[in-house]
Subunit: 442 residues, 4 copies
Amino acid sequence: MRSGTGGTPSKIARYGNRVFNQANLIEDFSRTRATTERLASPLRAEDQVVQSMPDASPVKWHLAHTTWFFETFLLIPFLPGWRRYDDRWGYLFNSYYEAVGARHPRAQRGLLTRPSVQEVARYRKAVDAAMAELLEAPGESADEVTSLTRLGINHEQQHQELLLTDILHAFSCNPLRPAYHKPPAAEHHPQPTRPNWLSYPSGLREIGSDGTDGFVFDNEGPRHTVFLRPFRLADRLVSNAEWCDFIDDDGYRRAALWLSDGWAAVQAENWRAPLYWQENGSGAWQTMTLSGMQPVDLAAPVCHVGFYEADAFARWAGKRLPSEAEWEFATRDLPVSGNLLDEMHPVDSPLRPLAPMDEGPGLRQAFGDVWEWTQSAYAPYPGFRPAAGAVGEYNGKFMCNQMVLRGGSCATPAGHVRATYRNFFYPQQRWQFSGLRLAEDV
Amino acid sequence: MRSGTGGTPSKIARYGNRVFNQANLIEDFSRTRATTERLASPLRAEDQVVQSMPDASPVKWHLAHTTWFFETFLLIPFLPGWRRYDDRWGYLFNSYYEAVGARHPRAQRGLLTRPSVQEVARYRKAVDAAMAELLEAPGESADEVTSLTRLGINHEQQHQELLLTDILHAFSCNPLRPAYHKPPAAEHHPQPTRPNWLSYPSGLREIGSDGTDGFVFDNEGPRHTVFLRPFRLADRLVSNAEWCDFIDDDGYRRAALWLSDGWAAVQAENWRAPLYWQENGSGAWQTMTLSGMQPVDLAAPVCHVGFYEADAFARWAGKRLPSEAEWEFATRDLPVSGNLLDEMHPVDSPLRPLAPMDEGPGLRQAFGDVWEWTQSAYAPYPGFRPAAGAVGEYNGKFMCNQMVLRGGSCATPAGHVRATYRNFFYPQQRWQFSGLRLAEDV
Amino acid sequence: MRSGTGGTPSKIARYGNRVFNQANLIEDFSRTRATTERLASPLRAEDQVVQSMPDASPVKWHLAHTTWFFETFLLIPFLPGWRRYDDRWGYLFNSYYEAVGARHPRAQRGLLTRPSVQEVARYRKAVDAAMAELLEAPGESADEVTSLTRLGINHEQQHQELLLTDILHAFSCNPLRPAYHKPPAAEHHPQPTRPNWLSYPSGLREIGSDGTDGFVFDNEGPRHTVFLRPFRLADRLVSNAEWCDFIDDDGYRRAALWLSDGWAAVQAENWRAPLYWQENGSGAWQTMTLSGMQPVDLAAPVCHVGFYEADAFARWAGKRLPSEAEWEFATRDLPVSGNLLDEMHPVDSPLRPLAPMDEGPGLRQAFGDVWEWTQSAYAPYPGFRPAAGAVGEYNGKFMCNQMVLRGGSCATPAGHVRATYRNFFYPQQRWQFSGLRLAEDV
Amino acid sequence: MRSGTGGTPSKIARYGNRVFNQANLIEDFSRTRATTERLASPLRAEDQVVQSMPDASPVKWHLAHTTWFFETFLLIPFLPGWRRYDDRWGYLFNSYYEAVGARHPRAQRGLLTRPSVQEVARYRKAVDAAMAELLEAPGESADEVTSLTRLGINHEQQHQELLLTDILHAFSCNPLRPAYHKPPAAEHHPQPTRPNWLSYPSGLREIGSDGTDGFVFDNEGPRHTVFLRPFRLADRLVSNAEWCDFIDDDGYRRAALWLSDGWAAVQAENWRAPLYWQENGSGAWQTMTLSGMQPVDLAAPVCHVGFYEADAFARWAGKRLPSEAEWEFATRDLPVSGNLLDEMHPVDSPLRPLAPMDEGPGLRQAFGDVWEWTQSAYAPYPGFRPAAGAVGEYNGKFMCNQMVLRGGSCATPAGHVRATYRNFFYPQQRWQFSGLRLAEDV
């Protein structure tokens, strides 16, 4: 990739080959870059340095790494005359691309007090200016430039979500429980009624993307056939009220409900409730949010649970999690809208899952609110091959030990998600905005 | 289960409902019990106590635990007048059944010098005698007794294989490299020629067992439909010679060949070759076997590689691993024969993978030699529900983070394996007799 | 202590009862507080948050904790009407005083992005103003207030040194190797000649302080008698040139030179040179300093070695480390001057150990440059009892597993150290400005 | 040492130069070897393999290692024609002598099922026969042979004690709580009255051994002068009854009583009582002993406490631990007798600490019962130099991070201990027969 020859146009096409005109691309690029900076704007310099666990990264690192991505995969190979902004920064801001070279150990990102927040801001400006130049006149490599810029935009959107989940985790480690944005006005939510169950028939289904309809990640393809048995899905997400029932019924204390590895995690980590939940003295639950500690909204979807918990809850409820193919089949014709991140005014987005609205029949909360754990291990689709070059490391090499999540969350940029989108995390991880929807066999 | 009411006949039927007559059952029970003891017979008391890693168990523990299984799931619920052999041994010899109560920590099995080898032998005798009594006159619960005894027999066969893999690991930790049985007579094996590739057409396939054809484990069902694309399989296992090529081509040093978690394991564990391989001074490979250190047989299948290695090798070869559905479809009509453990003369079995014989067209080495890693994560088949009661913990709760292996090995009792059989281990585990066969898309 | 009754005047007197007039005390207090802020002034907000290892603390934490000390031990018990600055900060900024209550886990100090650098600055101002008020009119508790304020001043001076050693460690973790202050002008130092050996006769000696000559810490007393055999001391510290000889003579590879625990550390940590040393391509040593990476000055004292290394070096040299009693006897009549931290212009201090000056006969480099490891385990002097109340935890509870160092370093405030001063660290710790002087028996 | 030239007679003389005639030496050698075998005789082969923690070693290893010591330091250098018994065993049975070469990792001694118990017995016989031959006719190296054989005898006696403490630990890990020997007949012990306090005057004292009065270890010398202040010692050991008072007074829950590192250990290990103590349902304490679980004898000395606990207890009691110099001064003229191991009938020894007998005035329980923790860090005496050659590693390299214990225990062979004897363990270690005696300043 660094030499500009790593990815042929035909390969890169799998990242989406809709004909974008350059104007759109430039606009999307600029908007995405601005959104990231708006997301960082409520934070002080001190907040932007900290790394609260190896899974998370400092805000400053997100700001620099997304910029490094454009510099490494676009400017260096394609912009004549571009000189590396700083020879030593490639080492600091490479995340996991083995093909690009050695890199700073992930768990030590929080030790990098330099470059400072201000220096990173200057780096962003310089790369943005050069990207504008490149996008105006991409020359012969226009297809590849377009394709990789789309990838870089989507990559940065992923880091926008991570920036939020990571600062939430960092703030949760501070006994002062700082708030990232203002608490929402108090609303009254009636506890939701029991979910309705929607039925889906058996049959051969086409799953995944053939890349003909806008940008997709390589792991969303190839499109392929699967055989689905008849199934039902709950029309809404599992709520905090239901999760409280699970807790009260000793859900976290009954080995029989858990996968063996899950039960080991419960005991090792002493899990008793979702991540960030705390019982106040009088038996009510509070939870750490981007607005600081707040009472748990019983009507809202449960959030910050891992796969092990989602799976145990489903077993307790006498149901199961949907497979990713079931989920995709059920949602592929739904509009992509919901409680997602507003890219223009990101800090004013709710940034928390919300109680479902009463919208009549059909699947609710499919997109936004919380990522939905599926029962599917993250694996290559039949015929999958990663892109050539370093960007081939983007998704493929993680296809083991992780579980697929679908649908996006309240922190996912609104234009970023779709029915074929495959997110993935380890089954014990809980710091994402992750919840669940129940399924059952017919 | 302990009260005898945990499993209804209809549930247990899933463990196989072929009509066994009682005589057969008794014979199978006795043979299996005797095989285990023959397997332990070359070992001294000292050898039988040691636990060389948490994944492995002492030989003495295998001898006692398999006996505990019959006592717990058969004698206590079904044999009137049976009194627990020793009240404290249930705690010591329960492996992982949460429903049966607390148990000795797995990693500390090697600290149990008591009960002694002799006391365990007496325990086996006492339980065998009582089982004979129960099987002669099972009374009203005959179906359940038959079904659970079949389960116990198959359970003990699994531990026969583990006994061998665990003592091999223990002996490998001793610089004296003790031998479990005599080294085989030296044979000359020409290096195998390139494998032939067998083609399989696309279509809807029935996979898994409906339990109507003899004993199966619950995880082999339900039978269900999957859609397979056309694929090809190599007609033989990957050989040590081919593995040496992988090593010589820096297979263990090129990140691009590995899954991300696999590469982390390579570096953390400093893997440079399969488990047990050691380079002698002059560049040739030796490997620890049940006959002590032996030269690596280049014509024989590679063994003691984990999933990460198998996956990396396949990527290096420009191929992939088969899915478990592909493997099952390709083997379901083949006879179950091969280099397996001879139950009557187990110590005289080869106990090592062997070069493929030249047998004309068709898939070779499907059963025996080495377990074949597949690309399939171990997950419940659609509609799977574990058996009620404690034996429901047998398989289901492990359906996460592990990968499926198929086909049995040189240490698998000959009558134990079949085309639908699903073995599973974590991707980093290497101490089983595990290897691979290559697949490719058409 | 919190109630103001924890320390009686007679007890506190052990912290020094020289008659300080209040004007002096106020001046000393103000100067010390200003020095700390000057030390922090070259650092950006980002730099002040980071904690690079559990042994180290963030600069911001040092700024707040020293302030907490005055608030907790002076303002709360003695200043009428003082209200806690922030109820939650006591938890955040208590270091290790069990008697004062629970506290934030030490290893997580780097997660506290709030309070911000600015908020801590406001805290310092508020406490300084209140302290000025208290010191102007201490009322009936004047003796205790004086004594505890002296303790607080000396406590803050200790944290001034730690602030420097901790930021050096943090910067050393950054591949950019930031500089805290400007590199010194290049100077030429001839390699020092062999040390001269000074002889000291046998006899009964009085060691330690009786507290009648200015402030001392409780661990410096009681004054007591020891019997010393005749010994010799090198007249200067061990130099980097000599340490290079040790390295070149395989000092880090010969087990026979090391204590057993030290050798285990060498292997576990892969020590090959002092902390911060790095070989450049061409065989010369560089080292991380407060001015960034610099060539090792061969004429300067070796620095950033732990006790294990100092002990191994002495064995290699056929010598030994001095005992703390020998060191104190040899230095008790020397003036306390040397390469120490200039409290008025701390950032302009050299902040690195310097080659010894040629000053004629007598012990050189006794104070300043580097702390000198002794062979003495840190233990209570005969008759030692810690002060009553929480400040009794200051020194006494650490009297196990650590070794005594003497003499101060280039980062020790000039007025802080003296002949009876006992510093102590664990034998493996290397991030202080620590080196050694050789001794031998006659 | 291996070449026979490592230790000159004058050096080795420090291990004792009393004129032993060879007959005595042979008798002592034979008796010691026989005692070890008697100690192992109640154990089965299974018991002799296990290693229950890295600090402990298997019984079989003790049997082999003590034999290796004689082979390595006596037979190989001094017996003409001796050929190594097995070339590979040196690697297996070297404990920590770096100069003798590489060795099996300490924590993996429990994995060595081979050589078997029987093979080790044959090894012992062969070495014993060769040693008899050497001792009959030591030739020119008689002094060295005598001196090293004395060292080997004392070394084996140390391992006799370790064999007992290690098997006790191993049995304590087994829920069956096996007994090594028969429980003692029940005796009634009145709870001891308060201890009497014995006073010792101030003065210059000679401490340590000059090696002129029988065998001593190198760490017991040189004899040297120390100045002691007046002190008092309790005339008996701290009892279990007193320890129960400490527990009942929340001794394990009050941070103020503990050294900082000790308090960290209390919390990390969740210490609530001495090692091996368990509360039965009704509030009474039981403890694991070499006779299995037994009620705690309130009149007997507390045992299996570490230095941290001993130090905390003393602080709770308003006293302190004695220094090793005080202890030695107080005991140097006492007869070495007490509850020690009977070398002729070791298995019939009590093997547990006993209530003090009423013997009139003077220090009781000075020798035997339990090792007494002192306040002294284990350090070289002034002028100490270890012996040349590999045996120089015997004691010297451990002189850091450990604390001195004095007086021997119920598991120490009767002829092994003396007033100058210095034992040493890490402050957290508790599996030895270790307790304490209180001291105070006058």
